[in-house]
Amino acid sequence: MESSDTYLIRPHHQHKFKPAIVKECIREIVREQLSGVQYDPEEVPQLSRTLADSVKEKVKNAGFERYKLVVQVVIGEQRGQGVKMSSRCLWDADTDNYAEDVYMNDSLFCLVAVFGSYYY
């Protein structure tokens, strides 16, 4: 906590939040955990939580230093209804970014969005 006056206001390039990598992380985990899963309203809350945790862990290990991560998981049932989701952020566009991926099968859709916010 030494509050020196030198701030690291930009991440190193190799530590920067890269949506492509994160998206791949998400995709991998979601495919792994959701393939062949049927929508069950009893299980889905737990499922989404574990999903979010595992995504967070995986992204944490991806080496984005000094990033605060927010993982949002939405799992919904597919019954032919229309769904629209959007997000908006107030952030530093130079450092912060997000990645999202959608997984769908016959009975459910799952959207995972990871927002990375740089901690200066």
Binding site: Y7, I9, V83, S87, R88, A93, V102
Partner: protein, 1094 residues
Amino acid sequence: MHSDKKLTKEDTWRPEDLRRYVREGGQGDDRARRRDGSERKHRGGESTERRHRDPEKESRQERDKHRERESTRERRDEDRKDRYVEQRKEGSRDRRGDKERDRRDERDKEKEKRKERDGLVDGKRYSDDYGGNKDRKRDREDRHDRKRDEERHRDKEKDRVRDRERRNREDGDKGREERDKERRKEERDRVHRTERERRRHEDSGDAGRDRIEMYDREQRERHRERERLKDNREDKRTDKERRERHEDRKHSEQKEERGKEYREEHRRHKEERERRHKEGGCDDQKPKHDSDSRVHRDVKRSGEEEKHRLGNRERGDKDKQRERRHREDEDPERKPRDRQHREEEEDPERNHRDKKSVSDQSNKPETTTVKSEEVETEHWTISVKDAGDTEEPVVDEEVVDQEYEDDFEDYEEDFEEMDPSENEGEDEKESEEFPQEGGEREEVTTQKKKEIEAIQRAMNEENERVGTDQSIQSTRREEEDEPKLSRGHEKNHSRASQRGKFIDFVAAKQREFSKKVATKQKKRSTELLRLIDLDFSMTVSLLDLPPVNEYDMYIRTFGTANTKQAYVQCNEDNADRDIQTEEIEVCEKWTQHPPEHSGACGDSNLSQEAQGRNMNETNFDSQRLAAFLHSASQVLVVLLEEDQAERKSLSKLRTQKDTLSFSDGSLQLNTKLPFLYDRPISLVYFSQVQRHTMMSVHAPTTKPSAVRLDSCTIICIWNIWEPSRPQKILVYESEVQCCCFSPGKAILVFAGTSAGSVVLWDLREETSNHYRLNIGEEEWTFRQPTFSTNAVMAASGHFSSVSSVEVVPSTAAGGLRPEVPLLASEEESSGLSFQLASLDESGVLNFWVVVELPKANEAGSPTDLGLRPGGKVKLLHSSSLLTAERVSQRDAVKTGPLQTLHLKFLPSDSNHFFIGTNMGLVNHGTSHSLKATPKFYRFQEAGVRPVDVNSIHFSPFRQNMFLVGCGDGSIRLHTVSQEQPVAEWRDSTAGEPVVSLQWAHTRPTVFCVLDAASNLHVWDLLKKDTEPVVTERISADRVTAMAVFGDSGKQNTYSGIALVHESGKIEMQYFTRDFTVTIPAEEEKLETMMTEAF
């Protein structure tokens, strides 16, 4: 914690000895030390509490925090209770132990034993240390131990109390010796101590010497404070204690003093620090093995702590470790407190001690009591301090904080605010406590309990008060949990269990931390925000799942049912080509059915020349083939029929040979057809070109028959070589008076009816267009007329029954010979350019043009209402002539109205026509108002007789000669150019009217006459020119009509006569050879007859 307690217990052992023997001033020091120790404990307690809270907080949700805090507060209270009990016990025990030891020391002066004991305690300590920092467990154990100790000691206490005075007296004697020893030991320990400190500095030096130094300073400061306090207190206490022996002690004063002291502490910091430095050297007075063991312990503990706090921040760890080390450093300092004090106070406070010592020594008898009192007060101060120290460790910590971050100046005020209330509570306790303390030892436990209860009560009150504060601050504190926790870790957790009302300070600290953190954050954010631009990101659409409409849903669920996907690729080699199939070969061909003009099929790609040739060839071939097949089929049929018919006729001939002398044989046509049954045959007619084609007119019958054609006239077209059945059957509603074939090939049949209409049949029409009737097992087609003038051309038609219909010969005069080839006539007829003349009884002669339409209209013609739908041939009225006028002017009076009965055209000139009348005359007329040289042809004798001319027949060999048969039986032979006949035979028929008269086709001089009496006369002018050669009377079945047939070209077979019998039989009689074979002199005979006549 436990070990620390033991430490304090142990540490206090020797200084007490010293104190007792050397100096009274040591008492205060000892108290201060103890308090210090208890402070440590408190701090440790706090840290453990924090530590307890940590996992709880981690595990629980934030919402539980408040509740939890309350519970922890309760727990803390309990802890405090325990701690107080422990401290009390400890304190008493310590003192008891000390006293025991003292006694032993004094009596036995066995330092060895003491050392052994120390070793034992050390061993205990070790084991405790190995037990780790599981404070609670250890607490429990400790409590057990202490209880045991208490019980053990209680017995001894009595002795001790009794002995005390005695002992104290002895102290005075032995005091000096021991003091000397202590001094020696002191010197020794000092060396040890410096060494140890050096070592310690080396250990921790790497991480941060500065800090250690800071800690050192701190600790020294603390020491100094305490010492000062103690000094002050001791000063007073020594006075007081003496007083207190006799009266109640006034603790309030002390408290006030203590408050003052707190305030003074900061002022004195610098001085104290300096002093501390000096003290540092004198701290170590402990035996070597003790210090060693402690070092061991330090190492172990730090290791354990590191294990425990792996998750914590490095700095926290370091801090704690250092702190602990320092605290431990202080431990040794505490042990030889008396000596330290003694030495310390040589500088500024020597006077006190000197005074004390002086007083102690001078008031020897009193000292015993004083000593005991000292012990008690010590104990008391410890307990008081324990209660009051709830603040102090915090203060100390805050001092530390101050030294770290110099912005905590206002902290003291918080504590000072708290102080009075606490002190008051404590004062009460103390006041309760003290007199009892001053009394007997046995009551200690009960007193303690009471004390504890009182303290608890007071603390609860305070906690409630603080709780409200905390609840207000709770939100903030939750925010600040993180820093608080980290702060908490800095405290020694090995002394966890001893804890007072700490929460106030936690709250305060939290507030402070939060403030600090907030300011830091603010600073940070202000600094950073200058560098950073925050902006709104675009609104990102994370998911857009359109709703599924019903059709898609249906398709999704059912769309794939019963379907299968497959693919096929043509032309696998050329997968990349757009068109993957082979070029399609195109070839134009055409075909037509039926073939009409130029063939049945064609190919546009062939060369025009070849095409034309092909077409010609095919055309020719097909035409020829059709012609060939047509004729061949006919020939075959004819041959078969002929063969059959001949056999029949031969058998017949034998029977009939008697009756018909001229006949060479006969053939009977099969007229025994159901629709012909019982019908009289009115007319038989042979085609002039196709001489084997014959038609028979069957009049309507009056008798009803099975067939509903009774009222109709039926015309049968026969091929005489095919006698089994008629080729065509024509029907017409009214009675047919006359009929004729078309010129050339017999493809059209014309008929005049009694109703005045002229009808025609086109024999080429297909049978499917006509009415078909199944009679019996056979199917018959009854053809309705193709065209009828009936009522259609009423204005230009006939108004009376048509007597004769005759084809106007072609105008190519003189050319039409029977030898005209078939094909030529066919070609001529195909053009159908000929005229038809019809004559009715009133003498009106109508000329018609026969027109063949290029195309049949199946729907019927809207303009030609007489044309049958699908018919192609129709009649156009060309001109009309009245032929009867001129003849009748003179004769009409005698004979009545002239009737024109018969019409014949001159075969060689179609403009001349001859009409037989009912006046026995044959009128001669021309169609184009030419001059007809003989106007009429009359009998031999002049005059007009009312005789019908029944038959006119031109000779096929000499076309200017014709025969006229009359109703009176007379027969005349005329030439065209002469009015009078060449010859006239009046009685050849015995007065019977001539019905029919015809020249034979094979011999120019032979003709046949049938009279009404069914007599058949055959004339041969060459043989006999006056009477018939043969006269046959057929009486059995009357002959009503006859027709001569035969072909001059085929003489052998074609010469005969068709006889129509009354019964409806048609019999074909073949002439015998003498009537058929041409005799060369015949025409000369006719010539001679002509010349003879004129």
